[in-house]
């Protein structure tokens, strides 16, 4: 029995038979048949032993929409060739900057690409034109040639460029996104086998097979008569990247949802707060290292805030000095109300839990707050001066170390960490304190993901709260970095469009 094929398929086979070797892309262009269809036909033919498919990886050079203008205008380092030549082939670095500015050329481009091309050489204080550089004045570099061809043709494969060093082109254009993109393409070539050539005459062409379903086909009812050809549904398509919320925002929202699902009330406190709420109310002595100018941002404007009601301030002050009515021995120093009035950028979201407790001292309460906190740090891959923290508290007559661990376990499990363990720790305002570790399956290790504890009575009693209060918090950037597999915290606030789009929402 002879195989039935469509008219289009027959056309495709005829072209393949007549050509020594032809690519899928060329086949599409010649026949106007859609690529999935062509590919499907050829895969079928290969399984019948009629054709052979060879695959090659090729680099395709795709110029950007701005490339033409940039190349015609002349690249910064090319224009600078002439500048250097006119200045006896050498300029001091200061003059380089001056000339670059006068000619409106990017200094970064001149240095980076000019040096990479070997056109310029940096000596101690000067930038010199190299021999290669002077040769380049009258002749386009390989990448410029390639780019010009690509601009005319829309795109070009590096290996089809004669007399152009594709390695050089790749080196120069791989990281120069404003000019072009290099994409790796898989190119498939089809050759007909002897068996194919023999089989071709015996194939039966079926008339009524259709590729494209049109509105007319549907309206007229013709769809009942035609046969819609199957596609090769395994064929890859270009990814359509959705616009989305910020990846860190996603984690913030998940965290909020977790607390809400556990019955917590959301609260807030100002980013600028008095030392009283950020430190003193948490029983942090006024000479504590964390209150140092080295670690905390103090405000010049507004420099001082107001203290809350006198009775509360008095209780806090007494607690610091001799323990007051908390049963503690206190810190044994003279508490200074001026220090407590100093405005700071809050160093933790615990300040908002404390503000809430002072207004709502009666149990039970379950409260959380997500927000930015600030540390006087320089910027590095590990540190930013501001980051997000989440803080939760439970004030309850049955709150205890045991229920703290239980609540944390439930919380972290809801956050997606099945295995949780606890280790004693030391924080100034909780007693006992515990650090939370979660098991990271991908890395096969325990990772510290937050601190917790029961507020010291020195914290809660002055606020009028007489039951144990469990508290815990964690930094969300750390979680985000683990989740999205990034090693540089700056990425989170860098607004790089590619990263924003590529970070997976379901991760």
């Amino acid at each position: 029995m002879s195989t039935q094929i469509t008219k289009e398929q027959y056309q495709l086979f005829t072209i393949v038979a007549d050509t020594n070797k032809i690519s899928i892309k060329q086949l599409c262009e010649k026949t106007n048949v859609e690529q999935p269809m062509v590919m499907g036909t050829m895969t079928f033919a290969q399984s019948e032993g009629w054709v052979e498919i060879e695959e090659f990886k090729r680099q395709e050079l795709l110029p950007t929409s701005e490339a033409q203008e940039l190349v015609e205008k002349g690249l910064a380092e090319r224009k600078f060739l002439t500048v250097l030549q006119q200045n006896n082939n050498s300029l001091t670095m200061q003059d380089v900057a001056k000339h670059a500015k006068q000619n409106n050329l990017s200094m970064g481009d001149i240095m980076k690409w000019g040096m990479l091309r070997g056109w310029f050489k940096k000596n101690a204080q000067s930038l010199d034109l190299t021999e290669e550089g002077s040769k380049a004045i009258s002749e386009d570099a390989h990448d410029e040639k390639a780019l010009k061809i690509a601009i005319v043709k829309g795109s070009v494969f590096l290996d089809e460029l004669d007399g152009i060093d594709s390695g050089y082109v790749e080196k120069l254009l791989r990281r120069r996104g404003e000019l072009a993109k290099l994409k790796e393409r898989t190119v498939r070539y089809i050759t007909m086998t002897e068996a194919g050539k023999a089989a071709l005459p015996s194939l039966k062409v079926e008339e009524e097979q259709v590729n494209l379903l049109t509105p007319e086909d549907i309206a007229s009812g013709r769809f009942r008569e035609i046969k819609l050809r199957p596609y090769d549904i395994t064929e890859k398509a270009d990814i359509k990247v959705p616009v989305k919320c910020h990846p860190l925002q996603k984690i913030i929202q998940e965290t909020r949802r977790t607390f809400l699902e556990m019955g917590f009330l959301e609260t807030v406190s100002p980013h600028l707060d008095t030392g009283l709420w950020d430190f003193d109310a948490l029983f942090q002595p006024q000479d504590h290292p964390s209150r140092d100018m080295q670690d905390t941002f103090y405000m010049k404007k507004p420099q001082f805030g107001d203290l809350p009601n006198k009775e509360l301030v008095e209780r806090i002050s007494k607690t610091h000095e001799d323990g007051g009515e908390t049963g503690s021995s206190g810190w044994g120093y003279k508490w200074d109300s001026e220090e407590a009035k100093r405005m700071v950028l809050r160093t933790h979201t615990t300040a908002s839990s404390i503000r809430y407790l002072s207004e709502n001292p009666n149990p039970p309460s379950k409260v959380f707050c997500v927000g930015r906190v600030f540390r006087n740090e320089t910027i590095s891959f590990k540190h930013l001066p501001e980051f997000h923290q989440v803080d939760g508290i439970v004030a309850d007559k049955n709150a205890s170390l045991c229920s703290l661990l239980g609540t944390l376990q439930a919380f972290y499990r809801k956050m997606g960490f099945e295995k949780v363990k606890f280790k004693p720790s030391f924080f100034p305002y909780t007693e006992p304190s515990a650090e939370v570790f979660v098991w990271m399956e991908q890395k096969s290790c325990w990772i510290e993901l937050g601190g917790s504890g029961i507020f010291r009575p020195e914290v809660t009693v002055p606020l009028g709260c007489n039951v144990p209060v469990m508290a815990w918090g964690l930094g969300l950037e750390r979680l985000a970095m683990l989740r999205y597999g990034i090693s540089d915290i700056r990425t989170l606030y860098g607004s790089d469009l590619d990263w924003l789009q590529e970070a997976k929402l379901c991760q």
């Binding site: 616009v243 989305k244 919320c245 910020h246 929202q253 019955g263 009330l265 959301e266 100002p270 980013h271 008095t274 290292p289 941002f297 103090y298 405000m299 010049k300 404007k301 507004p302 001082f304 805030g305 107001d306 203290l307 809350p308 323990g323 908390t326 021995s329 044994g332 950028l345 379950k366 006087n376 320089t378 930013l384 001066p385 501001e386 439970v394 309850d396 709150a399 205890s400 170390l401 045991c402 229920s403 661990l405 239980g406 609540t407 944390l408 280790k423 004693p424 030391f426 007693e431 006992p432 029961i454 009575p457 020195e458 144990p468 469990m470 606030y493 607004s495 790089d496 590619d498 924003l500």
Partner: protein, 597 residues
Amino acid sequence: MPVIGISVKQLSDLLGQPITSENLSDTLEYLGCDVDGMGKTIIYQCPKCSLFIEKQEHEEAPKRCTQCDYEEEKPFNSVDEEETIRLDLLPARPDLFDAGGLARTLKGYLGIEKGLAEFSLAPAQLEVFVSEELQKPDNYRPHIACAIVHMPEIDSKLLRTIMKLQENLHWGIGRDRKLASIGIYDLDTISGPITYKAVAPEELSFCPLGNANEKMTPKQILTEHTKGKAYAHLLEKSTKYPLLIDSKDQVLSLPPIINSEETRVKEGSKNLFIDVTGLTKTDVHKSLNTLVSSLVELGGSVELVKMVNGDKKTITPDLALRRIKINAERARKWLGINFTIPQFKELLEKMRFRVDGRFPNYEIYYPAFRTDIKHEVDIFEDLGIAYGYHNIKPKMVETMTVAQARPEELLSETARQVMVGLDCNEIMSLMLTTEANHFTKLQLTPGDDHAVIQNPKLVEHNIVRCHLMTGILESFAKNKRKPMPQKFFELGNVVHVGNDNHDTKSWEERRLCFAITGPKASYAEIRSYVDGILAELGWEGSYKVSTHPSFIEGRCAEVETKNGNIVLGEIHPQVIVNFGLTNPIALAEIPLAVLFK
């Protein structure tokens, strides 16, 4: 946080029984120590001043001495190596900074020795006279406490342990020698009594540690000696310097800078004189008590010293036991663990306390160095640790509560959904910025209503944002080479200064800012977005012509509402240039409160 390497062998010797690294590491973790791992530590010695320098196996051998600055072309010779367990120092527990202190705690936890570690004190013979002059405000370091410790003959390993402990206490309690600094001397090179007095910068001279052949005045030490220069800032306000000197005018040290070479503790020394001087009495005594108690664990015995301050005589170290009362019922509730009555005593003794009294009221006696104990809850924590966090069966608080999200956050969620639906990518920018980026580049004049930081480490962070435009425009700048058009939005808080109704003298508002850039970005486009958002959130507005220096005149509008004003328009080309951009930008900023019904 500094990391210490503790020799596993030394620890086993002190425990009196072998311990596997694994068991050691687990036990330390149960106690709350942060174990950094195991490794080999190699010890080098400076050929000139004999300072020991420890490096981890993978670190480079030193070529330069940190004490005397002596430098060689080739790395120093290693003198020893040992298997160590590496721990992060716990600032709250300086009594766990060394092998001695750790051994004391571990013995209890492992059941080798229980209850208080008590020892006898030999009566004071040596006197230290403290000069009145040091109590004056312009002559620094008013507080001093001293002790004598008789050790077994000190070998190089013990010497290293003591030096390391001294250094760690300088960090942990002394805040790098500022609040308290320790001097340790070979007692047999000193003739009592000793005087603690103030001297003029060039009144006398002595050989500082590491410079056996060169006498220097205090002034020279502070300006020429490596350690002197490093710590000179601690004495910069003083007109005279503190000095310890013996009855034969032999200088002991210039606290808190350096000791004298002649009184240096060497291998073979047996008797130690120790002083701690500092700014606060608490930290001085805490340092001395911690050091002396650890030396006892390392085989020492303590002799008291008489401090004479005019008519006032005191004996140091003050190692009298401290006492605190606890209630066992409250402990059960606080920890949520139903301890049996015998368990209380057993667990507390495991943590090296003495327990007196009867259930439920106990009196706990604890050593002087446990200054972290201020309240019965501190004892509760030790009870919890003794029980082991890993043995606790977690359970939940069962009280029913009702969740409630903040309305502003709910509205933000809706706004975020609308913006994503409008094909805008969300960005998050920092709240800290500069006047140049926040005002000048936007052709705005800084007013009085933005918050200014007093002490930023980076000049890039000296104000807090009061609008969201900078973050959006900077994001465009970062993506200027990516395909156009681009659409970004940010939802975030801005801060305004100058509202006396708030205790923080400032107020915040949540805003939504979004912008479009590309060759075709225009007022019409941003206007249709704003209309879309307002319609979606159930609000209609009337637009009025506005002048805003950041926008093109005639292409900027404002919508006034009682909760704030919406601004929208095409960004001024000069502003675009100021941010290093080339494409037109249309932007809108909406106070979220506007959208509240």
